[in-house]
Symmetry: C2
Subunit: 659 residues, 2 copies
């Protein structure tokens, strides 16, 4: 290359400081500090093709320190991606610009993951590296042979999830994963030694990582470190010693460059320091040319890969999986027919395992796992062998006691493509996973959360382990499909819907305790409408009982008791609110039953149910923490029995008559 | 002591296996494995007095591996605490027994923390150790001079929060903290090497910890290790090599002992193995006597401490703080009067800082902090100097990028007593803290969460940083008071309520952006009722606008527009739903305004607002992720302006007239 790397890097610096200055908002320090390292990575090491951001065998790059988003926008523009344009960069952090405050995978091709919530980008990179090794083990070097790179800051390394991600990557010996640590010794509050005294390389080595250090502003040293990282069979942490805001003469090396525009004076001073004469958003031709040339350097490798793919015996299967299409004709109909013929009185967690038996046979792309609750979450089917450092072809991951790390890794696997990850823990520990669940939803990835022990039905483990607010609070996460199936049939239906949903995550809330199978006739997937009339009133309808999961059984018992007194009661099962809300108004009105008294029954918070019951309905729920006791005692204690519910309904009917 | 420690330990083993067997539910393996270590700790090292579990200068003991709850129940009973009785133990895991599935601080004196959600007990112990050193620095060795002990399992060490807790403790050089690691190499799924390859001692040393190993079944070796841990000035990890389920001849050392009763045959075989002839729940007299004698061994030290306290010049202040009483006459009235006289147009995060100025002057027991967002959360007041390893008397903690660790540490500080912790991060990262927030609520501790940037008003950082579902989903956590104040006055009021609340946590959701001060008259604390009529309709009331936080300003603009058309509209500010729900029916009905059209305005999920607006109301909110842009653009884009809202209200009024 004819242009000095420093000049290439300064193009990043100029774009970063100018874009942040224009927006008067953003983080110039990180892009300016890591510009040298990133230049070497993107011009000499990263296998990518800006002409085809979706090349399946590209290296994955994750900017875990997502606040430094201008770094990646500059890199994409400079190497020749169609987007972002210079206008997009000019509109950094403005409405509708794809150059959002933090990198968003749904706004720009080339952004492999949405980052910003610290620590998660790193952990998603671990998931990508898992997917790569798994697909390599499945399809071979000819089709899958790439690396995963991440840039992480001190924040990513301090977050708890980093421990989980590092432990998982080290245990699985993910040598294709290389993390470039922007070691600038600065956080928002000031110097890192305000809050930490950790010997970070020692910690990484303790988990089986290789660590190499370099001067992040010395190009020869950067190359040496990257070469060493690539050569080492362990996952590598490249300790890049950098100066935050490098090039801003008065502010570099300080927290002042971290999260605010440098100001016009300092931007001007940096121009002098960097010997950068161009106007904002104007790039010298030879520098841009050199960048674009670097961006084309993998075109040959890409073409060769295309040729290998074209002649590969498993081409169709590989492409199908990478595009996320289920096998033609995939359905759970056979299993549902089996259930109709042979009803199962099982816990829905067990029903999930039974459905997974059919799913895992039919879908070779599923990779299951659990955060150390395999036998409780029922996530492992017999045919699944473990995915281990010795055998990446396995399809079950023992994630260890790492709920958050598991969830973020699943996001990374789904983003990589070619696999459908699902993983389990207790529903109450969805709180531990919640930041990653939110990113599943925001990123629109197909991840299936198998959350068992979904209420006080968990029993003796007590209130620390009993979800109360969880189902409802998960329903509020945009783009997350939350399912609480009532029996084995609904569980299979909800699994089918989760798998068919390509553009977002699903979460199954499943019981510990056994439930009767409520449907034995063969039907279409009734859960697909989100809610449906499981049983129509016999006598004249006065009541509509709305319930989910294990409380549908309670609703039926309640309906029986009411009908025996001549009071007609519909029973509506509502496994998925978001799907129900997507139905047309006529359907919804029909199911909710006009002027009848609406009664919700769910062993969780009542706040939220007024959406369907209104003011005048009755909400049977639990607005306090549970307790430690056998499940049956708890359901009685907290009033989830027909005996406890019927009198409340009678009273409400009385009041509405007299009212 | 005349009785061999092994015999003492076997009493724990017998109680654990018999109680779990009786419940047919629970975790015998951990208590049986750690019985020897725990016996030495409780009979020879732990400074406690079973006659007075609230002795302020007792050592704190946290069973972080809370599933092994029978260990601590046995220890409390054996050393002579009033509770649990043998009947309580017999009713292990049954309704109303204080011997719950996991240890619950609100069920039994002597249980210092509610544990079970893995990793959090350890992190709470860190907080207790911080509080101890801080109070020692404040009141001296005569009053405060104790240690914090924890027992943690492999799960506690694998969880991400462990990294945060270890980093914080190492950085603060908490030498009074000693963690006994039950290193049994077994998790629920099987051997630890299924999921981890970490060199745990190396990781701890990397964060400034001292690590010492011992054979957890060799009493001499255990004493050596504990002596060394005490002697070392760093926080210590005592690596206790144990055999899970020790004493169960056929199952010990395997995952089979972890989380299920041993079964009658194995219990019988263990009795033979342990040479334990007593019936279940029957303890040999000499063994019980020896335990009780050990339980009395600190009586003298306690008496001496009482004498020192009685003659101490700061006795009253010390006792006040430890009992959690605010200083007599504490109020924010002077500050509120100041605000009334000099209205502040500031962000509520800034209003919080201003209120904290008054609070921190008046309450020496507050300890503030932030997870590396000090300048954004506005949590540090000028007079606060940092709490550091060199100066524990400081009252501000730079927690680093450790949201979850901060939150759990605050729980530990509050549980220790003598301090009122508050700490900040962005509201969206309440997701990272959520498992600890839930434990704040369950444990009923006074912790104040200062969560800023509480909506799309955060602006350019975009959807990863913009809360949508957070305020509502936090309202669902039982016993958590969630406040979203609308201006500087409400912010001060909500702070006052948070501090006055001794039995539970509070969370303040605060804006990034400036808000006008809406009240300038001096009044009682109107936020105390949770919701109140900020402005009554001028024209005949047709509409009641219900809003919180920054949207109260929007509600006022909307009311203005409606009134200008002759449509009367109340404006109700609802800073705290749970307080409003606690008011009497007449007050609530009056505020909600009978037959008027109810309109909620909140820049977050609408799900939940139907509780107050019913079916027929109008819900202005945000049921999708936000976007990256300046705040003002976003409020416009998503319809949070009077211009966008008024037509919807007019249409709704039209429909209700014609309907």
């Amino acid at each position: 290359m004819s242009v000095e790397p420093r000049l290439l890097a300064n193009a990043i610096r100029a774009l970063a400081m100018d874009a942040v200055q224009a927006a008067n908002s953003g983080h110039p320090g990180m892009p300016m500090g890591m510009a040298d390292v990133a230049t070497i990575l993107f011009t000499e090491y990263l296998k990518h093709d800006p002409q085809d951001p979706e090349w399946h065998d590209r290296d994955r790059f994750v900017l875990s320190a997502g606040h430094g988003s201008m770094l990646v926008y500059a890199l994409l523009h400079l190497t020749g991606y169609e987007k972002p344009t210079m206008d997009d960069i000019r509109n950094f952090r403005q409405l509708n610009s794809p150059c959002a405050g933090h990198p968003e995978n749904f706004m720009l091709a080339g952004i492999e993951a949405t980052t910003g919530p610290l620590g998660q980008g790193f952990a998603m990179a671990v998931g990508m590296a898992i997917a790569e090794r798994h697909l390599n083990a499945t399809f071979g070097d000819d089709l899958v042979d790439h690396r995963t790179w991440a840039i992480a800051g001190d924040g990513c390394l301090m977050e708890g999830i980093n421990h989980e991600a590092v432990g998982l990557a080290g245990h699985l010996k993910l040598g294709r994963l290389n993390v470039l640590w922007d070691n600038n010794k600065i956080t928002i509050d000031g110097a890192t030694d305000l809050s930490t005294s950790e010997d970070i390389p020692a910690r990484y080595r303790a988990s089986g990582w290789h660590v190499v250090s370099c001067d992040g502003h010395d190009f020869t040293d950067i190359r040496r470190a990257l070469d060493e990282a690539i050569a080492d069979p362990r996952p590598s942490l490249v300790d890049c010693r950098t100066i935050i805001g490098w090039g801003a003469p008065n502010k570099q090396g300080t927290a002042a460059t971290h999260g605010a525009a440098l100001g016009p004076d300092e931007v001007a001073a940096a121009r002098v320091q960097l010997v950068w004469d161009s106007e904002p958003f104007d790039l010298p031709g030879e520098i841009l040319d050199a960048w674009r040339e670097a961006g084309r350097r993998n075109a040959g490798a890409h073409e060769q890969w295309r040729e290998r793919l074209a002649s590969h015996s498993e081409r169709e299967e590989f492409v199908r999986r990478m595009e996320g299409r289920l096998p033609e004709g995939f359905s759970l109909d056979a299993w549902l027919a089996d259930l109709a013929a042979n009803p199962q009185k099982v816990a829905t967690r067990k029903a999930s395992e039974l459905a997974l038996g059919a799913i895992n046979d039919a879908l070779p792309e599923t990779i299951g796992g659990s955060a150390d609750l395999t036998g409780s979450n029922n996530t492992k089917t017999k045919a699944q062998k473990p995915l281990t450092a010795d055998d990446y072809s396995g399809r079950y991951i023992y994630y260890g006691i790492r709920e958050f790390g598991m969830s973020a890794a699943m996001n990374g696997m789904a983003l990589h493509g070619g696999v459908i990850p699902y993983g389990g823990t207790f529903l109450v520990f969805s709180d531990y996973c919640r930041p990653a669940i939110r990113l599943s939803a925001l990123q629109g990835v197909r991840v299936v959360y198998v959350m068992t022990h979904d209420s006080i039905g968990l029993g003796e483990d007590g209130p620390t382990h009993q979800p109360v607010e969880h189902v409802m609070s998960l329903r509020m996460i945009p783009n997350l499909a939350v399912y609480r199936p009532a029996d084995a049939v609904e569980t299979a239906e909800c699994w089918a819907l989760s798998l068919q949903r390509q553009d977002g995550p699903s979460l199954l809330a499943l019981t510990r305790q056994n439930l009767p199978q409520l449907r034995t006739e063969r039907t279409d997937n009734r859960s697909a409408k989100g809610a449906y009339r499981l049983r129509a009133a016999g006598a004249a309808r006065k009541v509509v009982l709305l319930a989910t999961g294990s409380e549908v059984e309670t609703a039926i018992a309640t309906a029986d008791a009411l009908e025996s007194q001549g009071i007609g009661a519909d029973v509506v099962s509502m496994p998925c609110w978001s799907l129900f809300d997507a139905q047309d108004a006529a359907y919804r009105a029909d199911i909710l039953g006009g002027d009848a008294l609406r009664v919700s029954i769910e062993a969780g918070t009542t706040l939220g149910w007024q959406r369907y019951t209104g003011f005048d309905g009755l909400n049977i729920g639990l607005d306090r923490f549970g307790a430690s006791a056998p499940a049956e005692d708890l359901f009685k204690r907290f009033g989830f029995t027909a005996e406890a519910i019927v009198p409340q309904i009678l009273e409400a009917l009385q009041n509405s008559r007299s009212g």
